[in-house]
């Protein structure tokens, strides 16, 4: 019997070592990439990113494998160091080695510091950080002109602005409202502690979490573009985009809340012979109602802000109006819109913070 578990431990250790190898491989590739970037940069090109050769980048893949093999032969690498600290099957495997020196003095510490330094250098170059552009005279004059106009809003268009602001607020409201029941039901399937009993439930858990992550990692802006082609531009496309994104975001938050509940009541209700649905209804739901409400209100608040932004790509509302006036350079009108948005966002923020405070 115990040999089965020894095998299991060995298998887990192998898995962890593979994960460590992948991390190290990625770091090696990143190091070679950085070196390549620096070489091009010091040849004096203005925009080194433009000069990167795809062919070279592909060649770096096998090169990184070789580098990883060599480096990991002689040193304790960052990936291994990371997993040794986090994975219980690797913990204690190399005890003296990891504890004898402080992390920053070890090989993995030094290499991580070098990589961070390289990232800063390349990052400054890529983003064109320039004090000259920031304090250029012409630029400053232009900026002051716009700020001046913004500070003198054209209040004649206030009626139109408020109308479009209402569209935006309702967009956010409907998107949130429809996202709630879907996210609520999905969240139970996405909570690890409820889905660990059988293989089917484990698979469901992983599928649901994967879908949440995919939907969430695509910005509402992109979803709005997709839906604008599907249902044509207008507030409905914005509503759909926000709803989809909210389902995934709320679903993830809800699921994590379920994972954080106290297991005790769960055990107690299970012990009475209750079935799964009864356990969830009586032991899980009472523990999550308040946090759910609080997340949801916060989400509505976020959605109002998001609805403004996705208006820019055709989802209607205040964002569309903003784009119109900005395109025509009518800065006084833009100023009016900016002020209305600021007031609404501030009010939503204030309201949602107060409600959440009252709930907790």
């Amino acid at each position: 019997m115990s040999s089965v578990y020894k095998n299991k431990a060995l298998r887990e250790r192998k898995k962890a070592l593979t994960a460590a190898w992948i991390i190290d491989y990625f770091l090696c590739y990143y190091f070679l990439f950085s070196a390549y970037f620096l070489i091009i940069m010091f040849q004096g090109y203005d925009d080194p990113a433009e000069e990167l050769q795809v062919k070279t980048l592909i060649w770096l893949f096998p090169a990184a494998i070789v580098m990883n093999l060599i480096v990991s032969k002689f040193f304790s690498t960052p990936g291994k160091a990371l997993l040794e600290r986090t994975n219980k099957f690797l913990k204690g495997f190399n005890k003296e080695k990891t504890e004898s020196r402080s992390f920053l003095k070890s090989f993995s510490g030094v290499s991580i510091l070098i990589l961070i330094a390289l990232t800063f250098i390349i990052g400054f170059k890529v983003t064109n950080v320039s004090l000259y552009a920031l304090f250029n005279k012409d630029g400053l004059r232009g900026a002051s002109r716009i700020v001046n106009a913004l500070a003198n809003p054209n209040l004649n268009i206030l009626g139109e602005v408020l109308k479009q602001m209402l569209v935006t607020i309702y967009t956010a409201f409907i998107a949130t409202a429809f996202a709630i029941p879907i996210a609520f039901l999905a969240s139970f399937l996405g909570a690890r502690n409820l889905m660990k009993d059988s293989l089917t439930s484990k698979i469901t858990y992983n599928v649901v979490r994967f879908i949440f992550n995919v939907i969430r990692s695509v910005e509402p802006l992109i979803w709005a573009i997709i839906f604008s082609i599907w249902v044509t531009i207008g507030p409905f496309c914005g509503t759909l985009a926000l709803m989809l994104h909210s389902v995934a975001s709320l679903g993830k938050l809800y699921s994590e809340q379920i994972e954080n509940i106290d297991d005790g009541p769960l055990e107690a209700i299970q012990a009475t012979g209750a079935n799964k649905i009864q356990v969830i209804w009586n032991a899980v739901v009472p523990q999550i109602v308040l946090p759910y409400l609080s997340f949801t209100i916060y989400r509505w608040d976020i959605n109002v802000r998001m609805a403004t932004v996705i208006g820019l790509v055709g989802a209607g509302g205040i964002g569309k109006l903003l784009l119109q006036y900005q395109g025509q350079g009518q800065w006084n009108e833009v100023g009016t819109i900016a002020i209305v948005i600021a007031i609404v966002v501030w009010a939503m923020d204030f309201l949602s913070a107060r409600i959440r405070e009252a709930l907790s």
Binding site: M1, K8, P265, A271, I277
Partner: protein
């Protein structure tokens, strides 16, 4: 008559820890059996294996001759509904009232829909109030569970488990987070359930003085092995150091 029998029970956790090693014992109908041992000796694992809140790895457990270990999901629910359980941390549903908490004991024998709608029969409600009276909290029925003190919560938990009309009560360190005086009051209610209602009790305990005072018989675990089985009165110094190690000194709770 044997009500619960445990044979060659083994439990390995995923990380390879061998928490129970070939544990075998029987519980007789109507007895108050204590389980003692150090923290980490496997007492909690043992209790949770009996109603399969933790899946046993090997071995055979049966209630009234019917196998628990071989039961499928539906059968397991029936078995569980016949075994009440109370916990060190009470595990009440804080946002529900005391009465609602007690009625939860009925879940095992209810349909899903009526449980969600909270449709308990008048008979169940009457029984819940009776039990509340038995544990001396008749005036607290409509209070929220989180307004009660620790000892009161544990008494509600006892009432909840009695609501199941259990054939056996599994008590996992029921007084370990209570002060000495409250401990005795809670133990007295367990004793009452045992003597007056005839409920068989299997109870994990820390203090030998409680074991001597309340239990009929005792088994002891050490590092997952059953090292002692016998009358609660006959645990002497020698056995004590076998169970708890040579360094240990007995502490009493009065």
């Amino acid at each position: 008559m044997t009500i619960l029998s445990v044979r060659n029970l083994n439990k390995y956790y995923d990380d390879g820890v061998h928490a129970l090693k070939d544990v075998s014992f029987e519980v007789k109908k109507g007895e108050f059996l204590g389980v003692i041992g150090l923290s980490g000796s496997g007492k909690s694992t043992l209790l949770r294996c009996i109603n399969r809140l933790i899946e046993p790895t090997e071995g055979e457990i049966s209630l009234n001759g019917q196998s628990i270990t071989d039961a499928d999901k539906t059968e397991l629910r029936v078995h569980r509904s016949k075994m009440g359980m109370i916990f060190q941390h009470f595990n009440l549903i804080n946002r529900k009232t005391v009465l609602e908490n007690i009625l939860l004991g009925k879940l095992g024998s209810m349909g899903t829909l009526s449980a969600i709608l909270g449709k308990y029969s008048a008979q169940d409600k009457k029984r819940a109030l009776e039990l509340l009276d038995i544990v001396g909290l008749a005036d607290k029925a409509q209070k929220r569970a989180d307004e009660l003190s620790g000892g009161q919560k544990q008494r509600v938990a006892i009432a909840r488990s009695l609501m199941q009309n259990p054939e056996i009560l599994l008590a996992d360190e029921p007084v370990a987070s209570l002060d000495p005086a409250t401990s005795h009051s809670v133990m007295k209610y367990l004793e009452k359930a045992n003597k007056d209602l005839g409920t068989t009790i299997l109870c994990n305990l820390h203090f030998l003085s409680l074991v001597r005072e309340y239990t009929d018989r005792v088994i002891a675990l050490r590092k997952g092995e059953l090292v002692y089985e016998g009358s609660s009165q006959s645990i002497d110094k020698e056995w004590f150091s076998k169970i708890y190690g040579d360094q240990a000194k007995e502490v009493e709770i009065r």
